[in-house]
């Protein structure tokens, strides 16, 4: 491909892209700046970019029991659900990928169709069920509910990951006398590991960000961080903007930690397609 000379069209295209890149991150950067501002610096008609920073909002947030409990609940609920998703989802995905049977297509469709279910349609009956069983507003109830999400998502994404493992390596291991289970453990898992980590990270982000189910299944003890953050905004008319911004930053940090892993995962998915 020969590079075309610089033309106005090209310049406009570059300007649009630069604007889109700016729009992608600037609102978030602005929120982070607001988290470091005193309220007087936020409530200004002309936005202030230069101000004396304060850590008051952040230390207020980290000192609140409700926020710490929410953080703990989020970590435990999401961590456990992802763990269950890994333990149950990965082997099932491997079986679908490597042991083709008549139902493989139906199984894949069933797993995908779980994503069609409107969250309200799952949350309302589960709330009634957990109330009756006496587990409403507890972490185990949330973990079990989230497991439905993590198992299906991990399974859906891990099937192509296992299919991407070269068959010859597995065949060679069988010839060397490995059993079916040790081929899974010692060959398929390590070879597919990078894609699998991407799938697992994705499922974590999905449940970490989940809001509706957590809102309906908790009233005080099992509130996750998104619920706590959303409640901070309802403290009457005097909205503590700085504090709210700080809580948004805290809530957004964990998924952003996975940015590298997930963009690598995206690249590997498309590299597979190309080959």
């Amino acid at each position: 491909m020969k590079p075309y000379p610089m033309r106005p069209g090209r310049l406009i295209a570059k300007a649009i892209l630069a604007l889109a890149g700016f729009l992608a991150v600037f609102p978030l950067v602005w929120t982070a700046l607001n988290a470091l501002k005193n309220n007087v610096d936020i409530i200004t008609r002309v936005p202030k970019a230069i101000f004396t920073p304060t850590l008051a909002n952040i230390s207020y947030i980290l000192g609140r029991d409700s926020v710490l409990t929410g953080l703990y609940n989020s970590v435990v609920a999401c961590g456990s659900a992802v763990l269950i998703g890994v333990v149950l989802g990965l082997p099932a995905a491997y079986a679908v990928a490597r042991y083709p049977n008549r139902f493989a297509g139906d199984i894949q469709f069933f797993v995908l169709s779980l994503r069609f279910l409107p969250p309200v349609a799952v949350a309302i009956p589960l709330m009634v069920i957990w109330l009756q069983v006496g587990l409403y507003d507890t972490l185990p109830a949330l973990i079990v509910t989230y497991s439905l999400l993590t198992i299906s998502v991990i399974m859906w994404l891990a099937i192509p990951a296992f299919q991407g493992v070269p068959k010859e390596i597995e065949e060679a291991a069988f010839v060397d006398g490995y059993g079916a289970y040790s081929v899974f453990w010692r060959i398929a898992l390590p070879v597919a590991a990078r894609s699998l980590i991407g799938a697992i990270a994705f499922s974590f982000v999905l449940v970490w960000n989940e809001f509706l189910i957590a809102l309906m299944l908790s009233s005080s003890n099992a509130k996750t961080l998104p619920i706590v953050a959303s409640e901070l905004s309802q403290q009457g008319m005097n909205v503590p903007w700085g504090i709210l911004n700080a809580s948004v930053v805290l809530l957004s940090l964990p998924p952003l930690l996975f940015l590298g892993v997930l963009s690598g995962f995206l690249n590997s998915v498309f590299r597979q397609k190309k080959n």
């Binding site: 602005w30 309302i124 948004v248 997930l262």
Partner: protein, 289 residues
């Protein structure tokens, strides 16, 4: 073959599928059961009322409004996301070098990773009529006039939808770029030798070649657009009035905020479930065919 005789598929598949079946079927069936009763959160007793909740729904004007708002939401977000994604994807493919592509890809993934609640708050501040950063240019140009997109019925839905497109449109632009990169270069070169213009190459060569993956992408967006609740709950609570009250928002407020009519809310959820499962099953079969 050794694989055939192994017990692995059974031990690996059966427990997982059994658990998935139980976890999905129990709530689904129970949602139907509740919808046929008259449960309320405030009172413990209930009786069977069969289809009267469903009959009530069809004369409930707020429900019919919610159906219409949901349809509008679905169309606006899906179309806008695909337009933004294809537009930016093609632009990146055309004018960005390898290094800039990597930078843009990283930047464009950030919004979709944010919790919906965070994204909603970020933009709720930005749209604040007095102090918001997104309304600041308007204040600057008009000399301090107030523009409050979230509290006007005409603009509220679009203001909330813009956040959804901010998250998904930019993310899908990355995918469109990666799809374009997987295409073989020969057809593009051939079109260029025929003196096709840049936009013609994409309109008549590359995008038609990507028809199948682009349709799958749209399908994914249609499913994800059903999850509008977080954005709407944080940004407008369905308001002003009922201008942004989608089905899940209305079901939630009937069941939990206003009246605690769990059965009525469940009837709504069941209708949603039937509609989405039928629609998406049919679409999926068509995409696969």
């Amino acid at each position: 073959m050794r694989r055939r005789r192994s017990s692995l598929p059974v031990t690996f598949l059966v427990p997982t599928l059994a658990i998935l079946l139980v976890l999905s079927m129990v709530p689904t069936l129970y949602a139907i059961v509740i919808a046929l009763q008259n449960r309320e959160l405030s009172t413990p007793g209930y009786s069977w009322v069969w289809f009267s909740n469903f009959a009530d729904l069809f004369t409930d004007r707020r429900f019919l409004n919610a159906v219409w708002v949901s349809v509008k939401w679905e169309i606006v977000t899906v179309v806008a996301t695909m337009v933004v994604a294809i537009g930016l994807g093609v632009l990146m493919f055309e004018v960005a070098g390898p290094r800039m592509r990597n930078v843009y890809c990283l930047l464009f993934i950030i919004p979709v990773l944010l919790p919906r609640v965070s994204a909603a708050f970020v933009w709720k501040f930005a749209y604040h009529p007095l102090y918001g950063i997104a309304t600041y240019p308007y204040r600057l140009v008009t000399g301090g006039l107030i523009f409050d997109p979230l509290s006007k019925p005409a603009t509220a839905l679009f203001a909330v939808a813009s956040v959804d497109v901010w998250q998904w449109g930019l993310f899908f632009a990355v995918i469109v770029l990666k799809l374009l990169e997987t295409l073989p270069p020969q057809p593009i070169e051939a079109a260029r030798l025929d003196h096709a213009k840049r936009w013609q190459i994409h309109a008549y060569v590359t995008l038609p070649m990507l028809k199948a993956p682009l349709i799958s992408l749209m399908f994914v967006k249609m499913i994800e657009s059903l999850r509008s609740f977080d954005l709407i709950y944080v940004m407008t609570r369905g308001g002003p009035g009922v201008a942004t009250e989608t089905l899940d928002m209305y079901a939630f407020s009937q069941g939990f905020i206003e009246s605690g009519k769990v059965s009525y809310a469940s009837a709504m959820a069941v209708l949603m479930m039937i509609a989405t499962v039928i629609t998406f099953t049919m679409l999926w079969k068509r995409v696969q065919a």
